[in-house]
């Protein structure tokens, strides 16, 4: 079976969670014997054409300058269509098109009609939840494209029950058209030895101090400001420092808040870090906090579980489904610094409790979240859509 995978990001271009998701899924599908062609956008220093672990990766350059982002997206979709058509001509077409999110919806719909091939779309999040309300012209456009992609697709894949509920509520999509397939991670990446003391000292955290870790884009959706404010509520004897990994449009505001509130010596911003460094930090941290306001899945929580670090998460959406309170992690209230501080304190002040939730998290992640399982379910879905089930 030949699969055309459409995505606006693929490693090393890692903007959000879609990139790693499509990489993990594509590589696992290849192991199941499928021929996978990923068509995506280019990134400096990376070949336009390459085969990575059996996945055919085709990168397109968006040569035409755009006056704004919506126009950039339209142009990107044009180049994705053009490259996909070339590939289809050279390999004799595709059996299925699998698109990821609204950003590539237009190209996926166009290719579907040209090639007369079934389309499946994975929606990784929804605009009405990202922005809270569909009010700006830009949000109206995205919301409309998201609906259009659900209409044109034979099946919509979502990563959590909460996402499924959002789709049914917002777009009135028939339940049977939606399939929940969870996200996953490559657990083997975390099976490495790490000199925790050396890693921590690189970030100015010493042996008598506790390392609280945040990993994510610095955008309002991720709720990092509430974690920063939680630092004021932590008991001083915990001697805790917060390391913030990631970047985004809110970074300057967050840095200003940290310094103006006297937390400068306790909070460090690292910016984007390479994967191997993030894994080393995860394995060296005392607690990982995911304070998101909206999180359809929350892959970073899985990474924390795999790394063996206790995880404290906002009790929202997909995070509530992955993390069970007082079993494999801790739930706190979203947008509530005192609740976040309570969750951190709960983990840091009771090492036996922390060990217990880490043990539960580790066993669960190996059972429930692996790419082999995700690829099996996805392959079955492709076959069902193609009528070969």
């Amino acid at each position: 079976m030949k699969v055309l995978m459409l995505t606006w990001e693929y490693p090393p271009r890692i903007i959000g969670g879609i990139s790693r998701h499509v990489e993990g899924l594509s590589e696992a599908l290849v192991k199941k014997g499928l021929e996978v062609h990923v068509v995506t956008t280019d990134f400096p220093g990376v070949p336009y054409e390459e085969n990575v672990k059996g996945v055919h990766v085709h990168r397109v350059s968006i040569e035409t300058p755009a006056p704004d982002f919506p126009t950039w997206v339209l142009l990107m979709n044009h180049y994705l269509v053009k490259r996909s058509a070339n590939i289809a001509n050279s390999i004799g077409g595709f059996d299925i098109i699998h698109a990821h999110d609204w950003l590539v919806a237009l190209s996926s719909i166009e290719i579907k009609h040209f090639l007369n091939v079934d389309l499946i779309t994975t929606l990784h999040s929804l605009e009405f939840r990202r922005v809270g309300a569909i009010s700006s012209p830009f949000s109206r456009m995205i919301d409309s494209i998201e609906w259009w992609s659900t209409y044109e697709s034979k099946v919509i894949i979502v990563c959590s029950g909460s996402m499924k509920g959002d789709l049914i509520y917002h777009f009135k999509i028939p339940e049977e058209k939606i399939k929940i397939i969870p996200n996953s991670i490559d657990n083997s990446k975390f099976d490495i030895f790490v000199d925790k003391s050396a890693v921590r000292s690189r970030y100015g955290v010493y042996d008598n101090e506790r390392l609280i870790l945040f990993i994510g884009r610095l955008t309002s959706q991720k709720g990092c400001e509430y974690l920063i404010r939680a630092m004021h509520y932590l008991p001083s004897h915990l001697n805790a420092k917060l390391i913030i990994v990631g970047d985004g449009y809110m970074r300057s505001d967050l840095e200003r808040e940290v310094f103006s509130s006297g937390l400068g010596w306790k909070v460090k911003f690292t910016g984007f870090l390479p994967d191997n460094e993030v894994i080393q930090l995860l394995k060296s941290a005392d607690v990982l906090v995911v304070p998101s306001i909206y999180e359809p899945f929350g892959i970073v929580a899985l990474e924390g579980m795999a790394a063996g670090v206790p995880v404290v998460v906002s009790n929202v959406d997909g995070l509530s489904e992955i993390i069970k309170h007082d079993y494999n992690g801790v739930h706190v209230y979203p947008r509530d610094p005192s609740s976040i501080a309570w969750g951190i304190n709960r983990v840091l002040s009771d090492p036996n409790y922390a060990q217990w939730i880490v043990k539960n998290a580790k066993s669960e992640i190996y059972e429930k979240y692996n790419w082999d399982f995700v690829a099996s379910v996805t392959t079955d879905l492709y076959k069902k859509v193609k009528g070969k089930w």
């Binding site: 990001e9 271009r13 300058p65 755009a66 982002f69 950039w72 830009f138 449009y249 984007f272």
Partner: protein
């Protein structure tokens, strides 16, 4: 929405939308200045600040985004 962003963020977005991601696709400082309606001193200061943070490179009076800058620009929409 992007219009509501501060001037540094607008510069990053402008470079990303215009595909200024390598020296051969770079924008000259004068074009940036006109598009963002900035004074000479201000544009130099912002370019230096964003360059020090690793988001862009200024070379021969032209400006383009680094890989970190590209990710930063598009993370707004992810």
């Amino acid at each position: 929405m992007v219009n509501g962003l501060d001037i540094k963020e607008r510069m990053i977005q402008l470079l990303a939308n215009l595909n200024a991601v390598s020296f051969d696709k770079a924008l000259d400082v004068e074009t940036l200045k006109e598009n963002l309606k900035l004074e000479n001193g201000m544009i130099k200061r912002i370019i230096m600040e964003l360059s020090n943070k690793g988001y862009l490179i200024e070379e021969k009076n032209k400006v383009y985004l680094t890989t970190t800058g590209i990710i930063r620009a598009f993370s707004y929409y992810s």
